[in-house]
Amino acid sequence: MFKPHFFKSISVTASEENVYRRLGYKPGLTQLSSCQREEFKSYYNEAQEFLEPKGVFLEVPIKEKTAEKIVLSDGNSFTSKLLVSLLKDSGSMLTIAATAGYVIIEAINKNQKDNMAKAVVYDALASETADVCLDWLLQYYNRSISRENARLTPRRISCGYSDFDHRYQRVLFDMLNLEELGIKINANNMLIPEKSVIAVTGIIRGKS
């Protein structure tokens, strides 16, 4: 009954300011000549063409909660105090994943050879885009449940945060059937293309 919902093209734009922040830009402190500003902006604009933001979400009811463990109705379970605290008011767990796609990775790699500055702007944009995609998925889901008097927890977490073990990345990968979006996972549970992310959050239903 609960199956992943795929979005093969997500319309998001990562803000230029946030991309630069990732690269250490401090408003009011970092000094950019107009020429450099123009140049980096052209990298930012150019890189947009290489992005292929996609994503997926999956809602699964929580079957059981203990002080350290969450068991989902599909049989998957996660031992993590952090996750338990995140889902303390939730009846279901929402798992989301997003990717900036392969083309931008190719463009980053290509540019590393002769224009590293461009490559790092591309790289930061790809990371920011994957993050913005996660926000988009949450916004989409929030929209679809708002009519049901429900909402999502304000926070989301990913594998590797605190005691939410990185090995759960593979469990979530399989639950979401991420291969449908062309995403792969390596032996170390890293997602490929590298600008891909998985996160979880909780669904809180309101009063009837």
């Binding site: 009954m1 919902h5 795929f6 979005f7 093969k8 093209s9 997500i10 319309s11 998001v12 630069y20 690269l23 250490g24 830009y25 401090k26 402190l29 970092t30 000094q31 950019l32 000549s33 020429c35 450099q36 140049e39 990298y43 150019e46 063409e49 290489f50 292929e52 083309v103 980053i108 590393q112 224009n115 590293m116 500055a117 490559a119 790092v120 790289d123 988009w136 916004q139 989409y140 929209r143 708002s146 009519r147 049901e148 008097n149 429900a150 909402r151 590797g160 990185h166 090995r167 390596n186 032996a187 170390n188 549970n189 890293m190 490929i192 590298e194 239903r205 309101g206 009063k207 009837s208």
Partner: protein, 798 residues
């Protein structure tokens, strides 16, 4: 019924009902219950809501069938789509009384439709048809597609209505605060697509409060040929005490209703949080208001999912990118045969950045399934490009499939007077609301002269008019032919353009490069011809962006205008003319300050030029390096440390340095190079980790400071790193990792090296690596590229 609804809209502002969902919640709909099922089990509740809205003055009431489609009902284990819709439709009819009409409500399936999501387009159409069948059986008067976030899903639902009978249809999308749907569809593109596909009313509902919706209606209003609908929430939703609340009261809500009408809405109602009292107040406030008049004249407009193109007084000319066409392109043909679309994507990107406003798509290629390829190309381009498409095929079956799937209003390339095809293609273009390029051919013979073309244009247009087209739906191809074959070709094309612009009043298009075929200086001819054609009134050109710069070369102008003797003069002047080339000017300045500035500003080209200039002016290579270039790079490092520079600036400077050193290298004596050379650094991203941009930045920085780098790459096993240490005996081993899971491999490398008794310094870095972790494994920690240089120098001294 359609006529009755049109009359109602023409009479004055139409009042729609308010929310159903939030009203049901107030009246006891349990959390997590299926609203449609609950309404069937509690018919009195929904009946009361409908009746209250009718009494409050709603002219149109929506059925409670928002989620009564197959995928949504399946979430509650329900499958009887027809019965549920029929019963809820009939219930609404019974409750609405005689004054109010009932609209069968159709909501989203919860899936994005292909090419934006996993739900197939035809599957989506079938899902909606199933629901519509039930609603019609229930006796609804009209249908409303509402709260759509994806234009392709809205199209699928609208096509399902059109293919289910002659029913009045309203479509409303839901726009976020930034006036786009969550799928990125903007109000004007959606309006162009939907009104041309046959929606009787287009508009917006939900998401935002009425204030924000005024902007959406105002954006649509100048382009609306159909009435506009606005059904806002009663303010923006807030979650208070575990409950969603909308806090705009009926009076304030109704005041905004008046503003929505002034902005252009002809139908107003309420969405989430609004109740019968809101609708009552709205009715009273807008009573007697006349909706803003709609535009009478049709206009040239094309759309894709996330953008649009309009040809008007402000926007008089555009280029159609012509490159997505395999004819004469072997590599593209091969890729299409293999089902690979990377060139298609690449051409789309390139043409968009070169200034094309529309993309022509032709994938006809021998030995392939053109229909399949066309659908795939449309899917890819709809997702990756924001330019409306020109669907280019000679096969009616391919065109039909393409028009059906394309999530916008397309331009067909092309429809000629060929009897069999014109009969098939005109109704297709009409059904899908497409524009078309009128090719003035009546048979296989090319009309060489303007008079023949004019006759063909008139004949084809007469047939199109019968199908309901007007002149703004058409672009005439003026048939540019090679001047090398027909000396009068350019002149005849210009006559056709002039007549279309001044007399016939249609837009025109030309395949620009045909004109210069077989002649020298093709770009020059193309540019001159385009200058003449634009002056004459040409609107669109299928062209190479290189040909866009205006040019009035007298020899070419006379030649194209067929002036006596101009042909031989042109040939005499231009045959054997050397190829156009760039003359690059190199600055001769020898100022070392310029070189310093070039490095500080990350000016790669400048750094190379100023090194050359400094050497020409007698600078000594080693001093230039030591006293100008290295200090400049150190200054950059300091600026980075102080956050005055951010990473791209640091790297741009490092690259400028690299470019300067490359020029300087031949001037440095090998003895001097050896003297200045720092140690060997072996670099690797450890096993399991695929991230290497950070390592490459460090590598660039170290190289610039004289270190010799041996880069093993990414995902390198401990065994390989140890082997490389033995082989190269580096002074320093620099390891990078981004993940906590792979970071541990750094420790393994250090441990193994110690076991083997290998003597070298270790430096580690990466997003998750900390100073404490580095210390725990016996390595030095480098937080960034600048710091890495500092650490490497310290390790070297040891």
């Amino acid at each position: 019924m359609k006529k009755r609804i049109h009359n109602l809209i023409n009479k004055g502002v139409v009042i729609l009902d308010g929310a159903t969902g939030t009203e049901l919640q107030k009246k006891g709909l349990p959390q997590g219950a299926c609203p449609e099922k609950w309404c069937l089990e509690n018919p009195a509740v929904i009946s009361t809501i409908h009746s209250e809205y009718a009494r409050a003055g709603a002219d149109i009431i929506y059925t409670c069938t928002f989620g009564a489609n197959r995928p949504k009902l399946a979430q509650y284990g329900l499958s009887d789509v027809f019965r549920i819709n029929k019963c809820l439709g009939a219930l609404a009819k019974k409750s609405a009384g005689t004054k109010s009409l009932v609209a069968g409500g159709i909501g989203p399936t919860g899936e994005f439709v292909s090419p934006f999501g996993a739900l197939g387009f035809e599957e989506a159409v079938d899902i909606f048809k199933e629901q519509i069948k039930g609603l019609i059986a229930g006796g609804v008067d009209l249908l409303v597609i509402e709260t759509m976030m994806d234009i392709q899903e809205a199209r699928a639902a609208l096509l399902a209505i059109k293919e289910s009978g002659n029913l009045f249809s309203m479509v409303s999308m839901t726009y976020e605060k930034h006036s786009r749907t969550l799928n990125g569809n903007d109000p004007v593109s959606s309006l162009i697509t939907l009104q041309n596909l046959g929606a009787d009313v287009v508009g917006c509902n939900c998401s935002t409060g009425p204030k924000e919706m005024i902007k959406v209606i105002s954006l649509m209003r100048p382009y609306a040929k159909v009435p506009l609908l606005a059904k806002p929430n009663a303010g923006l939703p807030r979650f208070v005490n575990n409950s969603t609340v909308f806090n705009m009261g009926p009076k304030r809500f109704a005041e905004f209703g008046k503003k929505l009408v002034s902005a252009g809405a002809g139908l107003v109602g309420g969405c989430c949080g609004s109740g019968p009292e809101h609708i009552h107040c709205l009715r009273k406030t807008v009573a007697g208001s006349r909706p803003v008049k709609l535009r009478k004249r049709n206009f040239f407009a094309l759309s894709c999912a996330r953008d649009f193109f309009i040809l008007d007084d402000k926007n008089t000319f555009a280029v159609v990118g012509e490159k997505i066409n395999p004819s004469g392109k072997k590599k593209m043909q091969q890729e299409l045969i293999e089902g690979n679309f990377s060139i298609v994507r690449e051409y789309a990107r390139k043409q968009a950045s070169d200034g094309a406003k529309l993309l022509d798509v032709n994938v006809g290629c021998p030995g392939t399934d053109e229909k399949k390829l066309m659908l795939k190309a449309i899917g890819i381009l709809s997702v990756s490009s924001n330019l409306p498409l020109v669907i280019d095929s000679s096969d009616p079956e391919v065109l039909e499939a393409a028009l059906r799937f394309y999530p916008g209003r397309a331009l067909i390339n092309s429809i000629s007077g060929e009897k069999k095809k014109v009969r098939k293609l005109l109704p297709l273009a009409k059904k899908y609301g497409a524009m078309f390029i009128l090719l003035p051919l009546s048979g296989k013979k090319l009309p060489l002269r303007f008079a023949e073309r004019k006759k063909n244009i008139n004949n084809i247009y007469a047939l199109a008019k019968k199908e309901g087209f007007d002149k703004s739906d058409i672009v005439v191809d003026v048939l540019a032919m090679a001047v090398s074959c027909h000396y009068f070709a350019a002149e005849e094309a210009l006559k056709t353009i002039r007549w279309c612009a001044k007399v016939f009043k249609t837009a025109t298009i030309i395949g620009l490069s045909n004109t210069s075929f077989g002649l020298p200086q093709r770009h020059l001819i193309n540019r001159v011809f385009l200058t003449l054609a634009r002056k004459t009134g040409l609107c669109l050109a299928i062209a190479d962006p290189l040909d866009l710069k205006p040019c009035k070369d007298k020899f070419v102008v006379n030649f194209l205008l067929n002036k006596p003797g101009a042909g031989s003069k042109f040939i005499a002047k231009y045959s054997g003319f050397p190829a156009e080339g760039k003359i690059s000017k190199v600055s001769q300045s020898s100022s070392q300050e310029n070189l310093r500035r070039a490095i500080l500003e990350g000016n790669k080209e400048g750094a190379a030029i100023f090194v050359k200039a400094a050497m020409v002016s007698g600078s000594q290579a080693l001093r230039l390096m030591r006293e100008v270039m290295v200090p400049a790079l150190v200054e950059v490092g300091e600026l980075f440390e102080k956050k005055r520079y951010f990473l791209p600036q640091l790297i741009a400077s490092a690259e400028a340095m690299k470019s300067g050193v490359k020029v300087l290298q031949p001037f440095l004596k090998s003895r001097e190079i050896e003297k200045d050379r720092k140690g060997i650094v072996l670099m690797a991203t450890v096993e399991g980790d695929i991230h290497d941009i950070g390592k490459n930045i460090v590598s660039l920085m170290l190289k610039n400071h004289g270190f010799q780098i041996i880069d093993l790459g990414k995902d390198v096993s401990t065994v390989k790193i140890i082997q490389a240490i033995k082989r190269h005996t580096p002074d320093i081993v620099a390891l990078s990792a981004l993940m906590t899971t792979t970071m541990v491999n750094m420790g393994e490398v250090v441990e193994e090296a110690n076991k083997e008794g290998l003597r070298c310094g270790f430096m580690v870095g990466g997003a998750v690596v900390t100073e404490a972790y580095a210390a725990s494994i016996g390595a030095s920690y480098a937080k960034d590229g600048v710091h890495a240089v500092e650490i490497a120098k310290k390790l070297q001294k040891k």
